[in-house]
């Protein structure tokens, strides 16, 4: 089992390296040259040449890639082109905020999805079950900002239960933070929960067709006990997989939700940096998002191995 896990870790690391190469190629070797992107309309041949030199673009690409990667490994992402501050200084508080939001949403969404999914499996074919299917189809089609603005309009403007702006600062106490970010978290939860619960239901129902489940029924166990004690543990591997994939989706959803609630997170920082052509910040933020995405996928693989005895002892 350890060898398998080590294999996945190696694969994840390789993917991360590939992603870093992709980010570098995307920002530095594409036809649009970084210097002209930064200078935009004020570019003259002289200022372009000077800018290229300042950015180090006069040296070969592979040297710059090695330098950038070396810097990243030691926590040095370079300087922002817009604010001239250290990129790592700009990113750290934003990243903390985004991680807080994502973890808060995951803690709410995952247990909710599993419980609701198991309920759908127990009452399979009933009205509740069909309602779940319909709502899932709706939520995968509805963009985050529609959910967000509807929540703001009713829960914040109309009833004033929650604030519409999640304007946290580093000094905001933990309790206030939980209240301020409740609407963004609710938005994210509503967007991902339906899909997760539908997959939970499907995985459990898949197991329910096995002979040992019939045995459990025949010895007289009630249905909820069969589902929770016998089917659910064996359906864990696919459920974990779906949860990890949905959490990876959460990373992208976070970018939009942060914009809706004007939350000072990494997504907002990246969007601002993209419109300002602030490439070092875009590279760093992109790498962090990619790393989180890859990490979640890798964790899903490893947890699937750990939770499934058949994968644990491969032949």
């Amino acid at each position: 089992m350890l060898r398998l896990i080590a294999q996945r870790l190696g694969l994840g690391f390789g993917t991360l390296l590939a992603a870093s190469l992709l980010i570098f190629v995307g920002t530095e070797i594409l036809p649009g040259d970084l210097a002209s992107a930064v200078l935009q309309n004020s570019a003259t041949p002289e200022s372009l040449a000077e800018m290229r030199k300042e950015l180090g673009l006069d040296r070969p690409a592979y040297v710059r890639y090695a330098e950038w990667l070396g810097g990243v490994a030691t926590g040095d992402f370079g300087h922002s082109l817009a604010s001239h501050r250290d990129v790592i200084e700009e990113i750290t508080p934003r990243l903390t905020n985004t991680v807080f939001l994502a973890v808060y949403a995951a803690l709410l969404a995952v247990p909710l999805a599993i419980v609701l999914g198991l309920m759908a499996a127990i009452w399979q074919g009933g009205i509740y079950d069909r309602l779940v299917n319909f709502v899932t189809l709706l939520t995968i089609s509805v963009p985050e900002y529609l959910v967000g603005y509807i929540l703001i309009k009713y829960l914040s403007v109309h009833y004033a239960w929650f604030p519409s702006l999640a304007n946290v600062t580093p000094d905001t106490p933990f309790g206030d933070r939980l209240v301020l970010t409740f609407l963004p978290v609710l938005t994210l939860t509503l967007v991902v929960v339906a899909h997760m619960m539908r997959m939970t239901r499907a995985s459990v129902l898949n197991i329910m067709a096995s002979p040992y489940i019939e045995m459990a029924f025949l010895k007289g166990l009630p249905k909820w006990q069969v589902v929770v004690r016998h089917a659910f543990p064996n359906a864990l591997a696919p459920i974990i997989n779906v949860i990890a994939l949905n959490l990876a989706y959460l990373i992208v959803g976070v970018v939009v939700v942060e914009a809706v609630f004007v939350y000072p997170g990494l997504g907002q920082l990246m969007v601002d940096a993209v419109s300002k052509h602030d490439v070092p910040v875009v590279q760093a933020a992109g790498l962090i998002f990619a790393a989180a995405f890859i990490l979640l996928n890798m964790t899903a693989d490893i947890l699937a191995i750990v939770s499934n005895p058949r994968l644990r002892h491969p032949r």
């Binding site: 993917t15 590939a18 992603a19 992709l22 980010i23 995307g26 920002t27 594409l30 036809p31 649009g32 970084l34 992107a37 189809l137 709706l138 995968i140 089609s141 509805v142 963009p143 985050e144 900002y145 529609l146 603005y149 509807i150 703001i152 309009k153 403007v157 109309h158 519409s164 990876a248 990373i251 992208v252 970018v255 939009v256 914009a259 809706v260 990246m270 969007v271 940096a273 993209v274 419109s275 052509h277 602030d278 490439v279 875009v282 590279q283 992109g286 998002f289 990619a290 995405f293 890859i294």
Partner: protein, 278 residues
């Protein structure tokens, strides 16, 4: 009701109705919309001037333009753009996918690894990286999203063609000495049509949501052009004054996506059933 010999479910019918209404609005915008999309008919968020005999359905917007008219014109941009993107991504994805499946060998390996590489990162994040250097002009947006999206078309069409290429009649055509292009066009494409059409719907709704999200973030369609995503962005501050303005374009985005998904769901269902019947 039956269509192409299949019973149409109520949801699929609803979906088709939504799609048709949207298409009519997009194509016939100048004739349907009460005003031009740039015409200022009154005060911002106010009522139309007295010389306009018209009760605004959704009110006026931040510059005093008629919101309903802008919504109808916005359909052109949103739907047109997503349609072009989906067509390009399908052209790239199908050609490379089928080529990989028919030729196999190093071509297949190279293309598959390239696609794996592109999929190692969330699409939105990758798009950000490209746009940060190339800017947000429409051709850049279209090409970027089309290429990123074509990776998923590649995977599906490669898998479909892999199954088909193993069948005798394709092998016969190869042995007969037919060229690669002929085999793809005459033997593989017609037999992969049904799942590909359903996938077209899925990819369309993906491209549609994607471009709307980019526009909402201010990195998509730029003024003076407007699509539904950028309209949500323009009107978003009004939500704090208890206005419904940003909900109209956002709702339009959701409605069309739901409609497309209903139809796709139906197509996938009849596809899987016809397989079961043999």
């Amino acid at each position: 009701m039956r269509l192409f010999g299949h019973r149409v479910t109520i949801l699929a019918m609803l979906g088709m109705l939504v799609i048709i209404i949207n298409l009519v609005a997009a194509i016939g915008a100048p004739w349907i919309a009460p005003f031009d999309q740039a015409e200022i008919v009154g005060d911002a968020w106010g009522d139309p001037d007295t010389d306009h005999v018209y009760i605004p359905l959704m009110g006026l917007d931040n510059l005093g333009r008629d919101l309903f008219s802008r919504l109808i014109y916005g359909a052109r941009m949103s739907i047109g753009l997503s349609f072009i993107i989906t067509c390009i991504s399908f052209a790239i994805g199908i050609i490379t996918g089928f080529t990989a499946a028919v030729l196999k060998g190093w071509v297949d390996t190279a293309l598959s690894r390239l696609v794996d590489l592109l999929l190692s990162m969330p699409t939105l994040i990758f798009a950000f990286i490209i746009l940060s250097v190339l800017g947000t002009e429409l051709p850049v947006l279209i090409t970027t999203i089309a290429i990123l999206d074509s990776t998923k078309v590649f995977r599906l069409s490669r898998a479909l063609a892999m199954n088909l290429a193993a069948l005798e009649y394709v092998e016969v055509a190869r042995v007969r000495g037919e060229g690669l292009w002929w085999v793809i066009r005459k033997e593989i494409l017609p037999n992969a049509m049904a799942p590909l059409i359903a996938e077209f719907g899925l990819r369309f709704s993906f491209a549609f949501l994607f471009i709307a999200a980019l526009s909402f973030l201010g990195l998509g369609v730029q003024p003076p052009n407007a699509d539904w995503g950028s309209m949500v962005r323009d009107y978003r501050d009004m939500i704090n004054l208890d206005s419904t303005a940003p909900l109209y374009p956002a709702g339009a985005i959701a409605l069309l996506t739901i409609g497309v998904n209903f139809v796709v769901d139906w197509m996938l269902a009849i596809h899987s059933r016809s397989h079961g019947d043999g």
